[in-house]
């Protein structure tokens, strides 16, 4: 597989096709839609060999590409993937196809700009996962803000300007400190290679400051309590497609940042400050779970539930050190990180699907108020079946992918401390409470009003996109092995790496 620069293709392909879509122009919306669909589908097809030809037995970077880029600063165009990034790239290319289909009829204004923004966004997000050079990573990481800023601002709801500027400034604030950290690492390693940073010896003081900079950058992205407030606003105001991409992928970039940067570069600081991340994660799980319970707005509810679920991811990543201290060994540690990764992928599908469900309802009723619905099952039985399935998956029902990650994280946190596991297990109760209560109020019961009575069930396009997601959610729920096995070696390698002190 070494002949084709696959990673470059899946990064630049969508970006170039996106620019092409821009030139098709808004006068020809059908053409723009078709080109966008072809582009995203092609990218997805191209990304499949990344999975099939992936060698799961090694933790080394695969599909590497290395070219000099800015020789003055020793910056290289260095791409490569391992067990952490590969599943996320597939998630990205898959969800983009779904988003293009989701926007097919809904978006009627400036269609070509909309489709182009998502395709460019796709390329940049894949770039983030594939970059092995810190500057390259940062370029993709920040460049992503531009299309997302426009997506929320142009096609969003009534408070879109406030939401999008808040989103931009929050993320920008976090990431500039990360930039300073990366530049500081350069002055030590004399290179921007992320892999070189992994082996760079650092004092505890340096590590602590670097860790805090990374934490700020990635915590905003995840988002962790208390820097999460941009997310509900951004989600509520964003168009459906924007919400899907935000929830399914950009949040994962925060989690990915922890396993690629914070943990391996500053292991001792991570160990010293793991209480901080664990506390913030538990606050997200418990407190944000309670906040989700009282939401009146469907999108806000899912947004808060996303924060709670992402709290699980960060918990899984940082519980490792506690296990090591508690048991003196590393058994179970890998399970925490693996659980976090599975949770990220699974949450990508589930939250994306839930936002699509809200989008389906919103397109018909033009409201996201839970109160405005009731008895949707009477008029939209097929849709109701999907919505119930995704809500169950969100609550972590066994047999859906949502269960696997949560279970693994809770299991490993038991090894660390009973109380961490106890609080983490709250999510099962709270998740079930807010998901099912939402379903009860929206889907079941008597037909609430005339609007609901007039609803038409989902069409073939909507059925296709929800159907595919449903299959994936159930498939990974009953057979997670294809997902877990590819990341296993990389996770073990990371656990080994962070258990060795850099001091």
């Amino acid at each position: 597989m070494s002949e084709l620069p696959l990673l470059s293709l899946v990064i630049w392909g969508p970006i170039l096709i996106g620019l092409g879509v821009l030139f098709v122009g808004d006068e020809n919306p059908t053409g723009a839609r078709r080109l966008a669909l072809v582009g995203s589908a092609l990218t997805f097809v191209l990304s499949i060999p990344l999975y099939t030809a992936f060698d799961a037995s090694t933790a080394d970077m695969q599909f590497q590409e290395l070219l000099p880029w800015i020789s003055t600063f020793n910056v290289n165009y260095h791409l490569g993937i391992d067990g952490f990034s590969m599943p996320l790239i597939l998630l990205t290319s898959f969800m983009t196809v779904v988003v293009v289909i989701a926007g097919w009829e809904v978006i009627q204004t400036r269609v070509s700009q909309y489709m182009a923004a998502f395709l460019i966004m796709e390329g940049l997000m894949i770039g983030v996962f594939a970059a092995l050079d810190a500057v390259l990573f940062y370029v993709f990481f920040e460049g992503m803000l531009i299309p997302m800023f426009l997506i929320i601002g142009i096609w969003g709801g009534p408070r879109r300007v406030y939401a999008t500027i808040k989103f931009f400034l929050y993320t920008f604030m976090g990431s500039v400190f990360m930039l300073v950290a990366l530049l500081y690492l350069y002055s030590g390693a004399d290179s921007f290679s992320i892999l070189a940073y992994h082996d760079l010896p650092l004092t505890l003081r340096e590590q602590t400051l670097l860790f805090l900079a990374f934490l700020l950058g990635f915590a905003v992205k995840v988002p962790m309590w208390p820097v999460h407030t941009w997310l509900p606003d951004a989600h509520v105001e964003a168009p459906t497609g924007g919400s899907v991409i935000l929830a399914a992928i950009t949040l994962k970039i925060g989690g990915y940042g922890f396993v690629r940067f914070a943990l391996p570069i500053t292991p001792d600081a991570s160990a010293a400050l793991d209480w901080l991340v664990i506390s913030l994660s538990l606050i997200a799980v418990v407190y944000i779970g309670l906040v989700a319970l009282v939401q009146q707005d469907l999108k806000k509810l899912i947004a808060y539930s996303s924060i709670a679920h992402m709290g699980f991811v960060t918990l899984g990543f940082f519980v490792v050190f506690s296990i090591q201290r508690h048991t003196g060994g590393l058994q179970g540690a890998a399970m925490g990180i693996e659980g976090g990764m599975v949770q990220m992928i699974s949450h990508g599908f589930i939250s994306g699907a839930l936002f699509l469900c809200v989008g389906v309802l919103y397109d018909r009723m033009h409201t996201r108020e839970i109160k405005a619905y009731g008895g949707v099952v009477n008029t939209m039985p097929i849709f109701a079946a999907f919505m119930v399935l995704f809500a169950m998956a969100n609550a972590g029902l066994p047999g859906t992918s949502g269960f696997i990650g949560e279970f693994m994280v809770i299991l490993s946190s038991f090894k660390a401390s009973f109380w961490i596991a106890f609080l983490a297990a709250f999510t099962l109760i709270l998740g079930a409470a807010y998901s099912l209560w939402m379903v009860k109020r929206v889907v079941f019961g008597e037909v609430a009003n005339e609007g609901v009575a007039k609803l038409e069930d989902i069409n073939r396009r909507e059925f296709a996109m929800l159907g595919v997601l449903a299959i994936v959610v159930v498939l990974f729920g009953v057979w997670p092995d294809p997902l877990v096995s590819v990341m296993h070696t990389s996770v073990d390698n990371l656990v080994q790496h962070i258990s060795v002190s850099k001091l």
């Binding site: 020789s71 940062y138 426009l150 500039v176």
Partner: protein, 478 residues
Amino acid sequence: MDFQVPDFSLVLPELFLLGMACLLLLVDVFIDDAHRRVSFRIAQGTLLGTALLTYMQMGGPEQIGFSGTFVRDDMGSVLKIAVLLATATGFLYARDYLRDRNLFRGEYYVLGLFAVLGMMVMVSAGSLLTIYLGLELLSLCLYALVAFDRESGTSAESAMKYFVLGALASGMLLYGISMIYGATGSIDLETIRAAIGERDAGNLVLVFGLVFLVVGVAFKLGAVPFHMWIPDVYQGAPTSVTLFVGSAPKLAAFALAMRLLVDGLENLQADWQQMLIVLSVLSMGLGNLLAIAQTNIKRMLAYSTIANVGFLLLGLLAGTPEGYAAAMFYTITYVIMVCGAFGVVIYLSQAGIEADSLDDFKGLNKRNPWLAVLMLLVMFSTAGIPPLVGFYAKLAVLKAIIDVGLVWLAVAAVVFSIIGAFYYLRIVKLMYFDDPTSDAEIEGSLDTRVVLSANGLAVAVLGILPGWLLGICAAAIG
């Protein structure tokens, strides 16, 4: 001192420019308003010709001529070419604007060319005298240009303000020069450098002179607290002149700083580093904060200039060749962005309408999507968002100061750049998220459109492949 016939080939571009400017002065007398285009073409031809001559001179070791008063090196050549191209771009953008406002006169180009000559002399200065000569030639032309619209009261007012403050700054610089001369016995930068090398760095007379020199440089760059002229001049001057004042002279001011502080007084680096840190932090802070409060785009860009000068100073104060190269890269890319931003403002200003209020940008994406894209690129680039060139400029200067251990300063700089991002985003917000208030057709001639597009795209292309220009800057500093 023996009299030697100087090597005139060193100053060939300058001589050509001088000759052509005089020729333009003559020709312009004999053509009527209907053929004013000829003056424009001569001016453009002169600028491009001079750029070509400068390019041909490039390469090879440093050459010193005219008894040490003139230096030709690669840094100078690169900066001169940038000055010439920026001026030519500015002239092109300005043509229709000037014609619509009945300002399309030969004097505009004569003054412009002499200003460029002043900048070139400054860039190549080998002694304090040449520096002062070039600076005054530049400043006098700029004062006149700012007041070029005789009927406008604000224009005259801002020119007056500029003149008074500028004269004060020149006086300061001259006072500083006299002290340096007193302490070292020479106005030749090479000699001064050698003389200071032997002495104690804390010499009070030297440091005192240095303070005045730094004041002069800070005034020309527009660093806080010597920035007061910038907002008024930017707002008061005709937009085409604002573009000129805001672009090429920044390159010359950078060269001024390099010649004085680095070539001449590098051994006092410990002293001027402290001063520049203060100037830099104040400029970034004040510039970014005040830009938020502006409703006039020219004034907003003026404060943005101040903030960017703060960033540029970061590279200089690092005191390493990498830092100087970073500052040079910063200046050149900043000038590209300024040309783009003011180019769009000028393009939007149609006959009888000044598009200098932020509201004039409302809904630009609906009125003219391409223009909106160009402005979007420039704004995100100035905010320092990758993959646009402004990001690499910030990256380079931040890297330079982190390498010398000033991490706290880098943190302060990024905090200010977050504040700064807001007002650039606001322009994008107005263009993309708001509805247009007017649907008047936006017209412009083909050549302006092409160059403006190239200008905007340069921001993106240099962002994807910044290595080329970074390499040139690094090689030029040597």
